[in-house]
Symmetry: C2
Subunit: 104 residues, 2 copies
Amino acid sequence: MYKYGLSVKFRSTENNAQKLSSILLKASELVSRAKGCQLYLVSIDSEDPDTVWSTEVWDSKEDHDNSLSVIGVKELISQAMPLFAAPPEKVKEIKILGGYGINP
Amino acid sequence: MYKYGLSVKFRSTENNAQKLSSILLKASELVSRAKGCQLYLVSIDSEDPDTVWSTEVWDSKEDHDNSLSVIGVKELISQAMPLFAAPPEKVKEIKILGGYGINP
């Protein structure tokens, strides 16, 4: 069974990337305790300062989907929504074969 | 100073994704010992079976660039080249603000 990897692109309204990323950093704290969470990084795009990325690894897609019901996550999502210039976009869904840096 | 994140897309010739990913998995072993390597995952795209991804986190872009001179990496790259349907593509370069799953 492959681990599930995911990259989500969040386009923020102008100059709100820092605000949006701090909300996502809070979310990463919450979901880090959820079953199957191996990695949840929050980043700013190197070329576009209004684009924030999540880079995620989960034991399964199901674990990822279940994490949306972790207490506090829905509140954070509603805080973030006014800062979106476009809906979040799943840019990359991957089946992780292996490598270095997360638990096998 | 932000950690440097990188996603590289490798398009393999038909039915060679498995062969290509095993070469990249060997590369991940070599570069995992390089200075500043925090994460080097090898994955297959969930929708396109001929697309292989690396998902990387380095302490700096410089550390990443230096890792290309790790002994054995150039040989692996030359093994992989005949399997490319297109040149590798840096799809996402990111400045990592934080989150869960790698050393702060």
